[in-house]
Protein backbone atom coordinates (compact mmCIF):
# COMPACT_ATOMS: atom_id res chain seq x y z
CA UNK A 1 0.00 0.00 0.00
CA UNK A 2 1.24 3.44 -0.83
CA UNK A 3 0.15 6.84 0.39
CA UNK A 4 -2.71 7.08 -2.12
CA UNK A 5 -4.03 3.63 -1.14
CA UNK A 6 -4.07 4.71 2.49
CA UNK A 7 -5.95 7.89 1.68
CA UNK A 8 -8.49 5.89 -0.34
CA UNK A 9 -9.07 3.36 2.43
CA UNK A 10 -9.37 6.04 5.10
CA UNK A 11 -11.73 8.18 3.04
CA UNK A 12 -14.06 5.40 1.93
CA UNK A 13 -14.43 3.64 5.29
CA UNK A 14 -16.63 6.50 6.38
CA UNK A 15 -18.98 6.52 3.46
CA UNK A 16 -19.61 6.45 -0.21
CA UNK A 17 -22.20 8.46 -2.16
CA UNK A 18 -25.30 6.80 -3.58
CA UNK A 19 -25.47 8.54 -6.97
CA UNK A 20 -25.05 7.72 -10.65
CA UNK A 21 -21.26 8.11 -10.74
CA UNK A 22 -20.22 7.43 -7.13
CA UNK A 23 -16.63 6.56 -7.95
CA UNK A 24 -16.25 9.81 -9.88
CA UNK A 25 -17.65 11.73 -6.90
CA UNK A 26 -15.38 9.94 -4.42
CA UNK A 27 -12.38 10.38 -6.71
CA UNK A 28 -12.97 14.10 -6.90
CA UNK A 29 -12.84 14.34 -3.13
CA UNK A 30 -9.48 12.59 -3.24
CA UNK A 31 -8.11 14.73 -6.06
CA UNK A 32 -7.76 11.82 -8.47
CA UNK A 33 -9.75 10.63 -11.47
CA UNK A 34 -12.43 7.95 -11.56
CA UNK A 35 -10.35 5.44 -13.55
CA UNK A 36 -7.48 5.69 -11.05
CA UNK A 37 -9.81 5.13 -8.11
CA UNK A 38 -11.44 2.09 -9.74
CA UNK A 39 -8.03 0.59 -10.55
CA UNK A 40 -6.76 1.16 -7.00
CA UNK A 41 -9.90 -0.36 -5.47
CA UNK A 42 -9.63 -3.41 -7.71
CA UNK A 43 -6.00 -3.88 -6.65
CA UNK A 44 -6.81 -3.44 -2.93
CA UNK A 45 -9.55 -6.01 -3.24
CA UNK A 46 -7.23 -8.43 -5.04
CA UNK A 47 -4.64 -7.97 -2.26
CA UNK A 48 -7.29 -8.71 0.36
CA UNK A 49 -7.09 -5.35 2.13
CA UNK A 50 -10.73 -4.72 1.25
CA UNK A 51 -13.13 -7.58 1.71
CA UNK A 52 -16.17 -5.86 0.34
CA UNK A 53 -17.30 -2.64 -1.12
CA UNK A 54 -20.94 -1.87 -0.54
CA UNK A 55 -23.66 -1.42 2.04
CA UNK A 56 -23.62 -2.35 5.71
CA UNK A 57 -27.02 -2.96 7.17
CA UNK A 58 -28.82 -3.92 10.32
CA UNK A 59 -30.09 -7.49 10.56
CA UNK A 60 -33.00 -6.17 12.61
CA UNK A 61 -34.03 -4.02 9.68
CA UNK A 62 -34.62 -7.16 7.67
CA UNK A 63 -36.66 -8.82 10.41
CA UNK A 64 -33.68 -10.76 11.72
CA UNK A 65 -31.96 -10.73 15.08
CA UNK A 66 -28.37 -10.74 16.29
CA UNK A 67 -26.98 -11.46 19.72
CA UNK A 68 -23.71 -12.11 21.50
CA UNK A 69 -23.58 -15.25 23.63
CA UNK A 70 -20.97 -16.70 25.97
CA UNK A 71 -20.27 -20.01 27.67
CA UNK A 72 -17.83 -21.24 30.32
CA UNK A 73 -16.48 -24.41 28.72
CA UNK A 74 -14.23 -26.83 30.63
CA UNK A 75 -10.86 -26.84 28.87
CA UNK A 76 -10.90 -30.56 28.17
CA UNK A 77 -14.27 -30.25 26.42
CA UNK A 78 -13.50 -27.10 24.46
CA UNK A 79 -13.00 -28.66 21.02
CA UNK A 80 -16.02 -30.95 21.35
CA UNK A 81 -18.29 -28.13 22.52
CA UNK A 82 -17.01 -25.85 19.73
CA UNK A 83 -17.99 -28.52 17.20
CA UNK A 84 -21.51 -28.77 18.67
CA UNK A 85 -21.98 -24.99 18.73
CA UNK A 86 -20.53 -24.40 15.28
CA UNK A 87 -22.80 -27.02 13.72
CA UNK A 88 -25.68 -24.56 14.12
CA UNK A 89 -26.05 -22.44 10.98
CA UNK A 90 -27.21 -19.55 13.19
CA UNK A 91 -23.71 -19.27 14.68
CA UNK A 92 -22.01 -16.59 12.62
CA UNK A 93 -18.64 -16.83 14.29
CA UNK A 94 -17.12 -18.11 17.43
CA UNK A 95 -14.05 -16.94 19.31
CA UNK A 96 -12.01 -18.39 22.09
CA UNK A 97 -11.22 -15.69 24.67
CA UNK A 98 -9.01 -15.76 27.74
CA UNK A 99 -11.59 -15.68 30.54
CA UNK A 100 -13.61 -18.16 32.58
CA UNK A 101 -16.31 -17.42 29.99
CA UNK A 102 -14.03 -18.67 27.26
CA UNK A 103 -16.32 -19.20 24.28
CA UNK A 104 -18.01 -16.18 22.68
CA UNK A 105 -20.20 -16.47 19.65
CA UNK A 106 -22.54 -14.30 17.61
CA UNK A 107 -25.94 -15.69 16.66
CA UNK A 108 -27.68 -14.21 13.63
CA UNK A 109 -31.15 -15.52 12.92
CA UNK A 110 -34.01 -14.67 10.60
CA UNK A 111 -36.36 -13.95 13.50
CA UNK A 112 -36.09 -12.81 17.11
CA UNK A 113 -37.77 -16.02 18.34
CA UNK A 114 -35.11 -18.16 16.69
CA UNK A 115 -32.42 -16.76 19.03
CA UNK A 116 -34.06 -18.35 22.09
CA UNK A 117 -34.68 -21.61 20.24
CA UNK A 118 -31.04 -21.87 19.18
CA UNK A 119 -29.76 -21.07 22.68
CA UNK A 120 -31.98 -23.73 24.23
CA UNK A 121 -30.76 -26.26 21.69
CA UNK A 122 -27.11 -25.47 22.42
CA UNK A 123 -27.69 -25.73 26.17
CA UNK A 124 -29.44 -29.10 25.73
CA UNK A 125 -26.68 -30.48 23.49
CA UNK A 126 -23.77 -29.31 25.62
CA UNK A 127 -25.23 -29.38 29.13
CA UNK A 128 -23.71 -25.91 29.64
CA UNK A 129 -25.41 -22.59 30.34
CA UNK A 130 -25.39 -20.00 27.57
CA UNK A 131 -25.41 -16.33 28.61
CA UNK A 132 -27.39 -14.28 26.11
CA UNK A 133 -26.23 -10.66 25.90
CA UNK A 134 -28.14 -8.85 23.16
CA UNK A 135 -27.21 -5.31 22.28
CA UNK A 136 -29.24 -2.76 24.26
CA UNK A 137 -27.63 0.36 22.84
CA UNK A 138 -24.97 1.07 20.27
CA UNK A 139 -22.56 3.97 20.55
CA UNK A 140 -21.51 5.22 17.19
CA UNK A 141 -17.85 4.76 16.36
CA UNK A 142 -16.86 7.84 14.43
CA UNK A 143 -13.25 7.09 13.57
CA UNK A 144 -12.46 3.88 11.76
CA UNK A 145 -9.06 2.27 11.74
CA UNK A 146 -6.48 4.38 10.07
CA UNK A 147 -4.69 2.68 7.19
Amino acid sequence: MDELDRRIVNALQGGFPVCERPFAAAAEGLGIDEATLLARLAALRAEGVLSRFGPLWKAEGLGGAVTLAAMAVPTERFEAVAALVNAHPEVAHNYERDHRLNMWFVLATESAAAIAVTIRAIEAETGLAVLNMPREAEYHVGLRLEA
Partner: protein, 174 residues
Protein backbone atom coordinates in the same frame (compact mmCIF):
# COMPACT_ATOMS: atom_id res chain seq x y z
CA UNK B 1 -39.71 -1.77 9.46
CA UNK B 2 -40.95 -3.66 6.45
CA UNK B 3 -38.62 -4.63 3.67
CA UNK B 4 -40.21 -5.62 0.38
CA UNK B 5 -39.23 -8.67 -1.62
CA UNK B 6 -37.76 -6.39 -4.29
CA UNK B 7 -35.59 -4.67 -1.67
CA UNK B 8 -34.50 -8.01 -0.27
CA UNK B 9 -33.48 -9.12 -3.78
CA UNK B 10 -31.50 -5.91 -4.20
CA UNK B 11 -29.63 -6.45 -0.92
CA UNK B 12 -28.93 -10.06 -1.85
CA UNK B 13 -27.51 -8.90 -5.19
CA UNK B 14 -25.17 -6.64 -3.21
CA UNK B 15 -23.87 -9.55 -1.14
CA UNK B 16 -20.50 -9.45 -2.84
CA UNK B 17 -20.41 -5.69 -2.90
CA UNK B 18 -20.88 -3.15 -5.62
CA UNK B 19 -19.37 -3.83 -9.02
CA UNK B 20 -16.25 -1.71 -9.59
CA UNK B 21 -17.78 -0.05 -12.63
CA UNK B 22 -18.20 3.66 -13.42
CA UNK B 23 -21.99 3.23 -13.21
CA UNK B 24 -22.23 0.54 -10.52
CA UNK B 25 -25.91 1.06 -9.72
CA UNK B 26 -26.82 0.72 -13.40
CA UNK B 27 -24.83 -2.52 -13.59
CA UNK B 28 -26.44 -3.78 -10.39
CA UNK B 29 -29.96 -2.87 -11.52
CA UNK B 30 -29.46 -4.61 -14.84
CA UNK B 31 -29.07 -7.97 -13.11
CA UNK B 32 -32.47 -7.41 -11.43
CA UNK B 33 -34.37 -5.84 -14.31
CA UNK B 34 -34.29 -2.40 -12.68
CA UNK B 35 -33.24 0.89 -14.20
CA UNK B 36 -30.40 2.86 -12.65
CA UNK B 37 -32.93 5.38 -11.31
CA UNK B 38 -35.06 2.68 -9.70
CA UNK B 39 -32.01 1.07 -8.12
CA UNK B 40 -30.80 4.36 -6.67
CA UNK B 41 -34.28 5.23 -5.37
CA UNK B 42 -34.62 1.84 -3.69
CA UNK B 43 -31.22 2.12 -1.99
CA UNK B 44 -31.89 5.65 -0.83
CA UNK B 45 -35.19 4.45 0.61
CA UNK B 46 -33.42 1.69 2.52
CA UNK B 47 -30.89 4.19 3.80
CA UNK B 48 -33.56 6.69 4.86
CA UNK B 49 -35.32 3.96 6.86
CA UNK B 50 -32.09 2.92 8.54
CA UNK B 51 -32.00 -0.59 7.04
CA UNK B 52 -28.79 0.26 5.23
CA UNK B 53 -26.48 2.10 7.56
CA UNK B 54 -23.91 3.33 5.14
CA UNK B 55 -22.05 2.46 2.00
CA UNK B 56 -18.36 2.04 2.33
CA UNK B 57 -15.45 -0.32 2.27
CA UNK B 58 -15.10 -3.24 4.64
CA UNK B 59 -11.42 -3.49 5.50
CA UNK B 60 -9.64 -6.54 6.75
CA UNK B 61 -8.02 -5.35 9.94
CA UNK B 62 -5.27 -7.91 9.77
CA UNK B 63 -4.29 -6.90 6.24
CA UNK B 64 -4.05 -3.31 7.41
CA UNK B 65 -1.60 -4.40 10.09
CA UNK B 66 -4.05 -4.52 13.03
CA UNK B 67 -3.11 -7.94 14.32
CA UNK B 68 -4.35 -7.83 17.90
CA UNK B 69 -7.80 -7.21 19.30
CA UNK B 70 -9.47 -7.37 22.66
CA UNK B 71 -13.00 -7.21 23.90
CA UNK B 72 -12.92 -4.84 26.88
CA UNK B 73 -15.87 -4.96 29.24
CA UNK B 74 -16.83 -2.55 32.02
CA UNK B 75 -19.23 -2.48 34.94
CA UNK B 76 -20.48 1.08 34.64
CA UNK B 77 -23.16 2.56 36.93
CA UNK B 78 -26.37 2.73 34.91
CA UNK B 79 -26.57 6.50 35.09
CA UNK B 80 -23.11 6.88 33.55
CA UNK B 81 -23.25 4.29 30.83
CA UNK B 82 -24.60 6.43 28.03
CA UNK B 83 -21.97 9.14 28.39
CA UNK B 84 -19.20 6.59 28.93
CA UNK B 85 -20.26 4.63 25.86
CA UNK B 86 -20.24 7.71 23.68
CA UNK B 87 -16.81 8.74 24.93
CA UNK B 88 -15.35 5.26 24.47
CA UNK B 89 -16.74 5.01 20.94
CA UNK B 90 -14.92 8.22 20.05
CA UNK B 91 -11.52 6.94 21.25
CA UNK B 92 -8.88 5.83 18.72
CA UNK B 93 -8.67 2.07 18.25
CA UNK B 94 -12.22 1.45 19.47
CA UNK B 95 -14.08 -0.24 16.61
CA UNK B 96 -17.36 -1.21 18.29
CA UNK B 97 -19.13 -0.10 21.46
CA UNK B 98 -22.35 -1.53 22.87
CA UNK B 99 -24.36 -1.61 26.05
CA UNK B 100 -25.49 -5.15 26.89
CA UNK B 101 -27.33 -6.64 29.90
CA UNK B 102 -25.42 -7.79 32.98
CA UNK B 103 -25.80 -11.48 33.82
CA UNK B 104 -24.92 -11.68 37.50
CA UNK B 105 -23.25 -13.36 39.20
CA UNK B 106 -21.27 -14.76 36.25
CA UNK B 107 -21.09 -11.50 34.34
CA UNK B 108 -21.33 -8.07 35.99
CA UNK B 109 -20.35 -6.02 32.90
CA UNK B 110 -22.75 -3.84 30.93
CA UNK B 111 -20.52 -1.88 28.53
CA UNK B 112 -18.56 -3.68 25.81
CA UNK B 113 -16.05 -2.36 23.32
CA UNK B 114 -13.63 -3.84 20.81
CA UNK B 115 -10.16 -2.35 20.56
CA UNK B 116 -7.78 -3.08 17.68
CA UNK B 117 -4.07 -2.48 17.58
CA UNK B 118 -0.96 -3.54 15.72
CA UNK B 119 -0.01 -5.76 18.67
CA UNK B 120 -1.23 -6.44 22.22
CA UNK B 121 0.86 -3.62 23.66
CA UNK B 122 -0.76 -1.18 21.26
CA UNK B 123 -4.22 -2.44 22.27
CA UNK B 124 -3.37 -1.84 25.93
CA UNK B 125 -2.04 1.65 25.18
CA UNK B 126 -5.26 2.47 23.32
CA UNK B 127 -7.24 1.08 26.25
CA UNK B 128 -5.36 3.27 28.68
CA UNK B 129 -6.11 6.34 26.62
CA UNK B 130 -9.76 5.38 26.10
CA UNK B 131 -10.31 4.70 29.82
CA UNK B 132 -8.93 8.12 30.67
CA UNK B 133 -10.96 9.88 27.98
CA UNK B 134 -14.19 8.19 29.05
CA UNK B 135 -13.69 8.73 32.78
CA UNK B 136 -13.58 4.97 33.33
CA UNK B 137 -10.24 4.63 35.06
CA UNK B 138 -11.81 3.63 38.39
CA UNK B 139 -14.55 1.45 36.90
CA UNK B 140 -14.12 -2.35 37.17
CA UNK B 141 -13.14 -3.86 33.84
CA UNK B 142 -11.70 -6.93 32.18
CA UNK B 143 -9.71 -7.32 28.98
CA UNK B 144 -10.47 -10.43 26.91
CA UNK B 145 -7.93 -10.89 24.14
CA UNK B 146 -9.13 -13.16 21.36
CA UNK B 147 -7.65 -16.58 20.84
CA UNK B 148 -8.67 -19.02 18.15
CA UNK B 149 -11.54 -18.26 15.85
CA UNK B 150 -13.67 -21.26 15.04
CA UNK B 151 -16.20 -20.18 12.53
CA UNK B 152 -17.07 -17.51 10.07
CA UNK B 153 -19.87 -18.02 7.70
CA UNK B 154 -21.70 -16.00 5.11
CA UNK B 155 -24.75 -14.43 6.65
CA UNK B 156 -28.31 -15.67 6.50
CA UNK B 157 -29.48 -12.59 4.66
CA UNK B 158 -26.94 -12.92 1.91
CA UNK B 159 -24.81 -10.04 3.01
CA UNK B 160 -23.54 -9.67 6.51
CA UNK B 161 -25.24 -7.32 8.94
CA UNK B 162 -23.04 -4.52 10.16
CA UNK B 163 -22.43 -5.93 13.61
CA UNK B 164 -21.33 -9.19 12.17
CA UNK B 165 -19.02 -7.60 9.66
CA UNK B 166 -17.30 -5.65 12.35
CA UNK B 167 -16.80 -8.74 14.46
CA UNK B 168 -15.67 -10.99 11.66
CA UNK B 169 -13.22 -8.50 10.32
CA UNK B 170 -11.65 -8.21 13.74
CA UNK B 171 -9.58 -11.37 13.73
CA UNK B 172 -6.22 -12.33 12.47
CA UNK B 173 -7.46 -14.84 9.97
CA UNK B 174 -10.25 -12.82 8.38
Amino acid sequence: MDVTEAERALLAALADGLPLHPRPFAALGETLGLSEGETLAALRGLQARGVVRRFGVVVRHHELGYRANAMVVWDVPDGMVEAAGRALAAAPGVTLCYRRPRRPPAWPYNLFCMIHGRDRAAVLRALDWAAEAAGLREVPREVLFSGRRFKQRGAVFGPAPAEEVAWTSSTAAS
